[in-house]
């Protein structure tokens, strides 16, 4: 009988344990002595008045206050904002959370379980966390897969497109304020920047589809181009109402201008048009026809595999976060909560402390919390149509975009103008509600 290599889980665990053991042995016997020898001769650098010795972390465990100046310094760095909090890491984590929620949410709606075992194995004591590690598993799977280059593909564009998409969608985050003062680029033409970057996506989609050298991606790319261009115009027009009322293009100031009431109360039609067009921009159901699998396999993503596919997906979910954040910023009052800060009472802490350092003031912390909650809610609303709608056809899509949505957004502009001239709201502040 032929010998068969049978997979044994015990053997697998054993091999991992042995591997860890040997790594530790080599580390302690070889690498650690080398580090100590180097440290003996080279003086440790000094940052913010603290000596950066290798024991700093251990010291900080005992006495956290030592690290306080260091944390302060980090928080002040622009790089921190770009890389961590309102920037890429936060957005990517948010996108991952959205993917997880989408899968569980959709599964719930479809009377099935969704991701179940990944995570449940680890957190066996907490059944509600079932499937939490599925995103990690998917990431590992995508990383382990070969990126297949189709023959005849335009290599530079084919490789660059996913990266460009991630960069472009991350760039959208830069102008969206995640809390009072928490914005990477607080520029006066923020809204224009958003539309400038959004204009980049159809081009990239078309280039990616072209570079794939295949028929299905090509049709998908053309559809994406048609769709995004047709929906960009109502998108911009629907925001015009907000600009008229606030007199601002700076997103932070637009949020501040929504002080008494949010613009969704004044401009519901604009918010509706923005929501629909954002769905179309994101290629989400029912507007996912550039990726319609029953007609054109996977649209312009057909030839992408492995991590380059993963990057495109990441880009699309970061874009979802960005557009949901934009919706919150423009129509839902951004970081402002429905309740005033005084609601917290007189004994509320003045800020969020860590190691004695004030990371955020209470106002900032509450603002960020409200922003995250609202953005999450809007994201879930954007996921909802996936469960209840079929895909629509390109001609219906274009007719809706060019005829109905543009008409609606013009109506919205007239409403905004009327509100302005009647003095209900405007850049100078609403008349009669709060008179200076």
């Amino acid at each position: 009988m032929a010998t068969v290599q049978e997979f044994s889980f015990a053997e697998f665990v054993k091999s991992i344990l042995w591997l860890t053991f040997w790594i530790l042995v080599i580390f302690t016997l070889i690498i650690l002595p080398i580090i100590f020898i180097v440290l003996f001769y080279v003086p440790a650098p000094e940052i913010a008045g603290i000596e950066m010795n290798p024991y700093l972390l251990l010291t900080m465990l005992v006495n956290p206050e030592i690290g306080a100046p260091l944390i302060n310094l980090t928080l002040d760095q622009p790089l921190f904002r770009v890389m961590v909090f309102p920037g890429f890491t936060f957005a990517a984590l948010f996108a991952t959370a959205i993917i997880f929620v989408e899968r569980k949410f959709l599964a719930k709606m479809q009377v099935r379980v969704g991701p179940y075992y990944a995570g449940r194995e680890v957190f066996w004591w907490a059944r509600s966390l079932e499937g939490l590690l599925q995103m990690l598993a998917d990431l590992l799977k995508l990383l382990g897969k070969e990126v297949i280059l189709p023959s005849g593909a335009d290599k530079p564009i084919f490789w660059a497109a996913p990266v460009v998409l991630v960069i472009a969608s991350s760039a959208l985050i830069a102008v969206i304020p995640a809390g009072p003062g928490w914005v990477i680029a607080d520029i006066d033409v923020g809204l224009l920047v958003v539309f400038a970057i959004l204009g980049f996506f159809p081009l990239t989609a078309l280039l990616a589809s072209w570079a794939s050298n295949s028929k299905y991606p090509f049709i998908g790319g053309l559809r994406a181009l048609h769709q995004m261009i047709a929906y960009e115009i109502p998108l911009i027009l629907s925001v015009l109402g907000v600009v008229i009322l606030s007199g601002q293009l700076n997103l932070s100031k637009i949020v501040a201008a929504q002080e008494p009431y949010w613009y969704i109360l004044l401009l519901p039609i604009g918010a509706f048009v923005f929501f629909i067009t954002a769905l179309a921009e994101l290629e989400r159901v029912p507007f996912d026809l550039p990726e319609a699998e029953s007609e054109i396999v996977a649209g312009w993503l057909t030839e992408y595999s492995g991590m380059s596919y993963g990057l495109i997906q990441l880009a699309s979910y970061i874009k979802l976060y960005a557009l949901a954040g934009l919706f919150v910023t423009l129509f839902l009052g951004g970081w402002m909560g429905p309740l005033p800060l005084a609601f917290l009472g007189p004994n509320a802490p003045s800020g969020v402390d860590m190691f004695g350092v004030e990371l955020l003031t209470t106002q900032e912390a509450v603002g960020i919390l409200w922003f995250v909650v609202k953005t999450f809610g809007i994201s879930v609303l954007m996921l909802l149509p996936r469960g209840i709608n079929p895909r629509i056809r390109i001609d219906i899509l274009l007719r809706t975009g060019w005829a109905k949505l543009i008409a609606l957004s013009f109506i919205n502009i007239f409403i905004a103008l009327a509100l302005l001239y009647l003095g209900v709201a405007g850049p100078a502040g609403p008349v009669g509600v709060i008179s200076p």
Binding site: V4, R112, I388
Partner: protein
């Protein structure tokens, strides 16, 4: 306006299902309960007895080595072959009994219909996965073992929808 109401109804129907119980059977932890004790056949009546068509069970004390099951399988899956057995039975002169290759069997149960001696029945056991094709060939000795299948999950229906418990 009918479009808007239709869309509203669709959204309502979709969100309603967020609170309905999940229907999925979590298979390795839960196993379905089957009717009866496996498919059996009564040659006197010429009628079978309802049951799940899983792996066979062979009663050595009844099998006469008549090969009818192998003949029945000839045009269907050709999964049954007759093999020599070590033990000698008084009623089995040729000392041959069926051996079933589950790599070929289609679980139609027509071999059970063919057996006139109540010797070959089917059982609830469907978990036959093996690493090699050789492991899928069940000798008469393996076939005589009664499988231990414990399925106890049934579909439950209440106001919260149907579920497998």
């Amino acid at each position: 306006m009918s479009g808007a109401s239709g869309m509203f109804k669709a959204i309502e129907s979709g969100t309603k299902h967020l609170i309905i119980r999940r229907f999925t059977l979590r298979y390795p932890e839960q196993k379905l309960k089957f009717v009866g004790d496996g498919y059996q056949f009564d040659p006197k009546m010429g009628v079978g007895i309802a049951g799940y068509k899983g792996r066979h069970i062979l009663y050595h004390d009844k099998c006469t080595g008549c090969q009818l099951c192998a003949i029945a399988c000839e045009g269907i899956a050709e999964a049954i072959g007759m093999v020599k057995i070590d033990k000698t039975w008084k009623h089995n002169k040729k000392s041959i009994m069926p051996q079933i290759d589950y790599g070929k069997c289609v679980f139609c149960g027509l071999c059970v219909d063919a057996c006139p001696f109540y010797a070959l029945f089917m059982t609830d056991d469907y978990e036959l996965a093996a690493y090699t094709k050789e492991h899928l060939i069940y000798t008469p000795d393996q076939l005589s073992i009664k499988p231990k299948y414990q399925g106890n999950v049934e579909i439950k229906i209440d106001d919260q929808g149907a579920t497998h418990g």
